[in-house]
């Protein structure tokens, strides 16, 4: 990786100022949490910042805070492994998404905010030898190239899949993402945090230059049910081929405010609105879950080599709904 200057800010505000200052001076600079994903890109020379502003050693925004109504604020620097072990009971969708991400070693270091802000794993994007659309090239190389691990929804411009499993869970849980910037922070709905390539081809989220994620807020309405499931080719370290998170409020046996979000299938965590509408207000059972799985395929535009993902999306939506409802999905192996 190219040599860079390490900036050790004293505070989050300081960090934001440093990033803004660098931008003003046309110095390329990157904010770093654990750095597990950033270093990967730097080692590939896909990114060669002059400055790296370290956030990892800041003490604030590094813990879980519960509020009186059962809700939760998660500091940007909380690691995936902490979330996986702490939130199993209250927010299983988020805990399971974090628990299954990457490897144990990476989960022990990687932060939630870093996970949300990570760049895509598309092999054309990741290799410095390709100039894809996201890097200022003229076309998405995956669309007409090797796209077996790429998007089946919303892939008209760029076919990346968003790599954050936690993001899928946070959109399903309707989390709010709090940011900090020199001009003042914002509160974004998780669904608005992620942006489609049509909105910004060079980024996967709505953060402005120098803006930092500081907290993730979750509410826990009465009767909240949630789950996350994924399908992987390999059960050890591997990226999901399809994953899903769902949440709803159980109200007299019916599911209310249903959110069904599909991951690894679109450039953003993808809400399956037709499936949500199908399920809304109903009691979830095996037949409804299966129909919802099929409904989740509405609007799919598979590419040359990834249509196989469609049955997977249907399966993972079906299974996730049943998991959140506490029902068997048929994959329980007989003894």
């Amino acid at each position: 990786m190219k040599s860079f200057e390490r900036i050790q800010p004293k505070s989050w505000e300081d960090a934001a100022l440093r990033l803004a200052a660098a931008r003003e001076k046309k110095i390329s600079s990157e904010a770093k949490g654990a750095g597990t994903e950033l270093l990967d890109r730097m080692k590939e020379y896909n990114l060669a910042p002059d400055q790296v502003v370290d956030l990892r050693r800041l003490t604030s925004h590094s813990s879980l805070q519960r509020n009186s109504s059962g809700g939760l604020s998660i500091g940007a620097l909380v690691t995936l492994s902490t979330i996986a072990s702490a939130l199993k009971a209250d927010f299983p969708a988020l805990a399971d998404a974090c628990e299954g991400a990457a490897t144990p070693q990476i989960r022990n270091a990687a932060t939630l905010a870093g996970n949300l802000c990570q760049r895509p794993r598309c092999w054309y994007f990741r290799s410095a030898e390709f100039q894809c659309l996201k890097k200022g090239g003229v076309e998405c190389l995956a669309k007409s190239g090797e796209n077996e691990f790429h998007a089946v929804f919303g892939n008209n411009t760029c076919a990346i899949v968003h790599p954050s499993a936690a993001g899928v869970a946070l959109v399903a849980l309707n989390a709010r993402i709090e940011t900090l910037a020199p001009g003042g922070g914002r509160m974004l709905a998780a669904a608005d945090f992620f942006v489609r390539p049509e909105v910004d081809i060079f980024a996967e989220n709505a953060l402005r230059p120098g803006e930092l994620v500081v907290e993730i807020h979750l509410e826990k309405p009465q009767g909240l049910r949630s789950a996350y499931r994924k399908i992987k080719q390999k059960q050890s370290f591997d990226w999901p081929l399809a994953d899903a998170a769902v949440s709803w409020r159980a109200e007299g046996g019916a599911a209310k405010d249903v959110r069904i979000v599909i991951g690894s299938s679109a450039p953003v965590p993808f809400r399956a609105k037709a499936a949500e509408a199908l399920v809304e207000g109903k009691r979830i059972d095996a037949a409804l879950a299966a129909r919802a799985g099929q409904a989740a395929l509405e609007g799919a535009t598979p590419l040359g080599k990834n249509a196989y993902k469609l049955p997977m999306v249907a399966a993972v939506v079906r299974r996730t709904l049943l998991a959140a409802a506490g029902l068997p999905d048929g994959t329980e192996e007989p003894a």
Partner: protein
């Protein structure tokens, strides 16, 4: 954690090198607008000026296997490089250099992490345990001995990382199931195919009742 400030179009792939003068000017302007205490700022400015001049080495001090280690490293130096190149602790291996194989696994304050994806300065002031710190050929730790007894190794290159991961597992879970072990080493790649030995080794080490792997 944040989106990088968008470099100008022509530098998107290969950002221009920054001149030393430009860098120092940049720092000065940051100092000017920052609102924190002046003393800290001065200390930081000194660090940065050091970084901006000479070989760019920044001092770091941490505890490795119970002993204090210090050194001066460029900001880009990973913990794996510092351990292997500066401190001679070559038991920690680099297999993929991207956090995907786990050969570089060390304990950072007790938790297994990839030392290839950890900058040495991120470990400043923290406690590192490497494979060398777990035991020696003459005095192996229980999990190391269990690895030998179960032949949980072949070429031995992934083995240090595998042992470190298992050691951390046993330290937090004295009676792991086989599924727990599989999960604990799911970030450790072995090409010789020693996993079944690793499962047996963890099981045997757990059965000896020694919780500290």
């Amino acid at each position: 954690m944040a989106k990088s400030p968008e470099p100008p179009e022509e530098t998107r792939d290969e950002p221009k090198g920054v001149t030393r003068r430009g860098l120092i000017k940049g720092i000065a302007s940051v100092v000017g607008v920052a609102s924190a205490g002046a003393t800290t700022l001065l200390v930081e400015a000194r660090h940065e000026l050091q970084a901006a001049s000479g070989n760019g080495a920044i001092p770091v001090s941490l505890t490795v296997n119970g002993a204090a280690r210090t050194g001066s490293f460029e900001a880009r130096t990973t913990l794996a490089e510092a351990l292997r190149d500066a401190w001679g602790l070559t038991g920690t291996k680099v297999g993929c250099d991207r956090g995907a194989c786990g050969a570089c696994t060390v304990l950072l304050d007790g938790a297994p992490v990839n030392s290839c994806l950890t900058l040495v300065h991120d470990a400043d002031g923290r406690k590192i345990t490497t494979i060398e710190g777990l035991g020696s050929p003459e005095a192996m730790s229980p999990i190391q001995k269990a690895f030998v007894d179960a032949d949980a190794l072949q070429c031995g290159f992934c083995t240090p990382g595998m042992v470190v991961s298992c050691s951390a597992l046993l330290a937090r879970n004295s009676k792991p199931s086989e599924l727990d072990v599989k999960e604990a080493v799911s970030g450790n790649l072995c090409r010789c195919g020693t996993y079944t030995g690793v499962f047996a080794a963890c099981d045997a080490a757990a059965k000896t009742g020694v919780t500290r792997g």
